[in-house]
Structures are given as C-alpha cells and as structure tokens.
Symmetry: C2
Subunit: 361 residues, 2 copies
C-alpha cells in the first residue's frame, strides 16, 4: 500500500482508516459466510444484522425513540428535494423554505416544479449566501419549514436550528449529519446523503417522525413514498447493501472509538478552531463566511489572488494535502473537515498554511 | 481468509473472484491516489476514468454506437418501473406490457398508478407464469412495449425477444443483462439492477436510445428525468461511485478474462445444460418452467416433497453450496447461475444433486 494522503475533499470524503481496514480484511469472506458482503442476499440473517445494527446505532447516537423511523433511500439528497414536498406538503397549505445557498436553492426549485405554494421566508442571497439568516418570522401556516443545516459551498452552518413552533422542521443535514448532538423533537424529517460524514456515496439516510407518515397522499409511485421504506425496513426492493454496511461500520466507529456525538463535536470544534484561528491571525488568508455563521465542516477561504490560490492548492497536493480547491461555482479554497478527518490531518494543513504564507506572502 | 462457498444466490449474487481481489488490494489506496475509491471526489480525473471506462465497455460489449446513452441511476429496477412511463409514455397513446411474473406485474402496477392507458397484450399468468407467451399481436399504436427478459422467480427467459415493428422495446433486463449478445436496435430503453450480473446492489444501469430523450415531458422532477442523467454523464449529483467502480471491474473481467458476450453465452449455456440434463434425467428432481422457456440464469426445480426440499437446501449449505432456496413467494429450489458463477461451482452442485438423489431418493 502506498502512503495515504490527508484528505480534505468535500464529498465523497475521508472515511475512518480503521473502517477501511475492516472492509478490506473481510472483503472476500464476510464473518465466515464464505462470501463478500456484496454477494450476500439482502434477505439473509447476515444482512438483517447489518441494517438493523445501522438503524439501532443511528437512533442511539441521536437519542431517538420509536417515534422516529430510520430509512435508507437511494438517489442522494437530490432525490429527497422532490420526495419531501410530494410526501409532506399538506393540501391548501404553503411549504416554507429558508435559502442559504446552492442546495437550498435546488430544494426550493423541486418544490416549485411540483406547483407547491412555496414561501421563501428567509434568505442570505443578498450577501452571496455568506451568512445564516436571523430574525425571520414563522407564522405557523406552513406544512413544514425546510432548511439546510450546513452549506458546503459557502462554508456556513446554522449554530442553532430555526424555531418554528408547531411547524415541523425538515432539514437537509447531508454535510453535518452526526457531527454534533441534536434535539430531534422539532424535526419532522431529516435527510443526509451518506458521502460526507457517514459513508460512501450511493445512499441517503432519511429519518422521519412517525406522525409525518400520515400525510403521504394516495397515488404516489411506490418508490417515492416514505411509507414503502418505513413499512419494510428499507427492504421493499434490494437496497444499497454495501453502502449500508459501510455506514454501519462508520457509526460503530463513531460510537465505540470516538465515544458518541458530544465527543465528536469537541474534536470537530478543535479542528475548526485551529484553521479559523490561523486564518484570522493572518493578513494573507481571508475567511469568506461571516464569523457567526462559520461552518465547522467546510472552512472556506481566499488568498490574495487566484494565482496564489492555484499555487497553494498545487503545492499542498504535492505535500499530500488533497481536495483543497473551492467548489467550481465559487473558486477559492476549501478545507472540508468532516468527522473522519483527523486532528493530525488538520494540524498538517495548518503547518502547511503557515509555511506557505511565510514563503509566498 | 476462510473458504469461499459456491454461491447460487439470486441477487445480490456471486461476483468474479479476481474482481473482489482487485477491490481488496486497492481498497486503501486507489491507483496511488492515497485514498480509497470511496473517498475520491466524483468530480476528479480518477472517477472520470472510472465512469467513462464503464460506459465505453458497456457500449463495446453490447455493440452499441453513439445513438445510445449509458446511464447509472440509483433506486434499482423498481424505480425504473415508475420512471419508464413518466418519461416515455406518449400523449394519447397506450403503453403495452407483457406479463411474465412478479417483476412484470410490478412494472404494470406502477404504470397504472400514473393513470396510463395500460394494455397487457400477453400474459402467462394462466399457467402460473411457467412459460413465455407466444403468438401475441402488436398493433403499432403503443408508446412502447415493455417486457422482462428473464424471470428470476419462475425461472423463465425469452429465448428470442418479441417483435414489435416500429414500437420501441423497453426491457427490464436485470437478471440476464450481459449474459448473451443482443441486437440493441429494437430497444428504446434497457434497464438492469446491477446486483445479478454486473455488480453489487445500489445502482441500475439504464441504456436509452437517443430518440427516446425527445419524449420526456416538461415538469418532471429533476431526478426522475432521463435527460438529467444523459446530459451530465450521470454526474448531475453524486452517483453511487463505489458501485460504478465495481461494475467497471466486472465489465473489464467480462471483456478481458471471459472474452466478451459470445464467450459468456457459451459458458452460461453449458452451466445451464449440466443442471437441466441432470433434472431431466432424474425421476427425483422436477423443473418448474416449460422447457422451451427455461432460464439460463435461474434454474428452478422441485423435489418430491417440501421436507426433502428443506433437507436438500440444508445439506447443500453444509457442503458449501449456498443460496439454493426458492423465492419466498413460490418455495421449492432455485440455483441462480449468473455470469460470475463458475462451471466449477455448477459441477459441484450437480455432483451434490446426484449424490443427494441416490441417498434420499
């Protein structure tokens, strides 16, 4: 095996090394089955244990009881953008959205395609999505209030979730899912593409509060109804077995090696602090998000000019620090520091940034 | 590593051993990237090569030109059951279906949920789906003619595809895709869940003829339009990267190790011949499908009684022959012998069957 790099990719992203080693070691023979996990029936006892283990661990980590269902649905967060209004919009009632960037905008567009009465009750578009809106009103009329908890492209994150009274929150938590403890009670539905914090790409985890299942209208296609998944423990058809298996291993690592979500948040805060302190103490690097709205997952920053940014990304790559280019839609630099990115990797990046500033600044 | 079994599962199913070994060997460091393939951005050169390689190999193996697009869509064949009529039904024209079992029935149901004018122009339901219909009429009115090329549960397979004139064929080829050469020209669309013949579960391959893209109506959700996938080479959002990577390796094995689809068909015919000859030469085992409609992929058979069937499946498992239980909806026994199931495995099964007959019969 060659040397592993420090991986700051925005997703698909770093996975915990012990998880990768376990996958490798049992790839040809899963727990004595004489088959790879990829070759085992989703109707087997082996796979029942895999999927039930992932569901149980999710509920335990998030402090959820039996009023929540944990579902595995293919198609990523992008398919959820259309499934959410299809399933949860109430007849004659608006659907409320908060727009904090590219992914919120896409979620809004899918609700509009369906002809829903979409109200954008808050937005940070006026300042290029560089902050999380505050002081907006929620009037209690809406079917739900949708927001994006962390914005990978602009590097912002909700420090606290919006208050919406009796209106259920619906959250695209793709890029900070399982990075900190949450109070699940206000959420009607949480969804997260796996490929940032909990596994490889190819599956979204969807957590739905039991009462939301009563809203699902007649006549939806079978594969677009949440009830199809909740009634069959995500086994109506063949699920993304390998991805669910890896998610289960990542959650085990999170619980047993890291010690749960409070411990994970402490580590994540320390990783972010190292990079933001370096940026703030520098006249060379400049953070792009408003300080109070900064993401603990995606640290976005600029250098004095684009030439320097290109050189920064290129030299970093040569030193084994990968994935630091900003999203193609905004440019600049971005260090994604999800759960599996280690403190050691962050310190290596900080050292490189200090060194680069001294030699180029 | 423990001993690998002979795997006759219906899907997820056996994968070629050299493919599994390659995955294992590069699991922590994909081609010197210093990352697992699961950790690499879908916008990277590495992944471009993966997905383009899989597309190119598919077209080469199937003898397809630029008039076909190869797409990777999550959600399995079950999501295709609803996407097909959504995208391909023409205004004011019926959609024709042939019903050959469980999967056809599900496809028909999804078209009916959408309120399409569904005509079932042929069916083998009268004799428990034990044969492939013949002598039906296609009148040229339909938007498309949908059929299931191989029926995993009942063990039947179309020996030749239906003739439909100018009506484009739409085929669920999940369980015999890439098992034999086909003439692609009559097909408007082919779809196949990966987990039988070409990879792990979590992705369907969809092949769409260019002219079908003109049918897609306005107003569909973005993730349910084939054009979203064809315009972005299946990279509108993050695809199922790992599954696509494995599919690419399986197709490489099929082309380079096996020698393409004609060579594959020869091997598949020999595997099926061994088992059907044994069944036909026995007074103990009884095939459940009509001889002219027998599947080369799923050999379904019964023993004199259910007790013997249970004992057969149990003793086979002890000898390292797994996955021989029939589908839970029909009982009996089934040996699935997809591309990756070796002649050696089939011979081991035949030996066991002969031995079991002698000692129990």
């Amino acid at each position: 095996m060659g040397k592993r790099i420090h991986n700051f990719s925005a997703g698909p992203a770093a996975l915990p090394l012990p998880v990768l080693e376990e996958i490798r070691d049992e790839l040809l023979d899963y727990k004595g089955a004489g088959m790879s996990i990829m070759e085992i029936s989703h109707r087997s006892k082996y796979f029942d244990d895999v999927i039930n283990g992932a569901v149980d661990r999710t509920k335990k980590l998030l402090g959820m009881g039996d009023d929540f269902h944990v579902l595995f649905i293919q198609g990523g967060a992008s398919l959820q953008f259309c499934m959410v209004p299809m399933n949860l919009a109430l007849e004659g009632r608006p659907v409320d959205y908060i727009n904090t960037g590219t992914w919120s905008t896409k979620a809004i567009k899918e609700a509009q395609i369906q002809g829903r009465d979409v109200r954008i009750i808050a937005s940070s578009e006026d300042r290029d999505f560089s902050y999380i809106p505050r002081g907006f009103q929620v009037d209690g009329e809406a079917s739900y209030l949708h927001f994006t908890s962390n914005n990978t492209i602009k590097g912002t994150q909700w420090p606290e979730f919006p208050e919406a009274g009796d209106v259920p929150l619906v959250c695209d938590m793709s890029s900070d899912f399982m990075s900190r403890p949450i109070d699940p009670r206000p959420f009607g539905l949480i969804y997260a593409g796996a490929q940032k914090n909990i596994g490889p790409s190819g599956c979204a985890m969807v957590i739905i509060r039991r009462d939301m299942l009563d809203r699902i209208p007649e006549g939806l296609p079978t594969m677009l109804k949440y009830s199809t998944f909740s009634e069959k423990n995500s086994l109506y058809n063949t699920p993304s077995c390998f991805v669910i298996y890896v998610i289960g291993l990542v959650l085990k690592w999170l619980e047993e090696e890291i010690g749960g979500l409070e411990a994970m948040e402490t580590i994540n805060r320390e990783k972010a602090r190292i990079l933001y302190d370096l940026i703030d103490g520098s006249g060379f690097y400049r953070g792009t998000a408003e300080k109070a709205s900064r993401s603990l997952m995606n640290v976005t920053f600029r250098l004095p000019n684009e030439d320097l940014e290109d050189r920064f990304v290129g030299e970093a790559a040569k030193k084994g620090l990968g994935g630091l280019k900003g999203h193609r839609s905004v440019g600049g630099c971005r260090a994604s520091i999800y759960n599996a990115t280690t403190l050691e990797s962050v310190r290596a990046l900080a050292d490189f940034m200090s060194h680069f500033e001294k030699t180029q600044g």
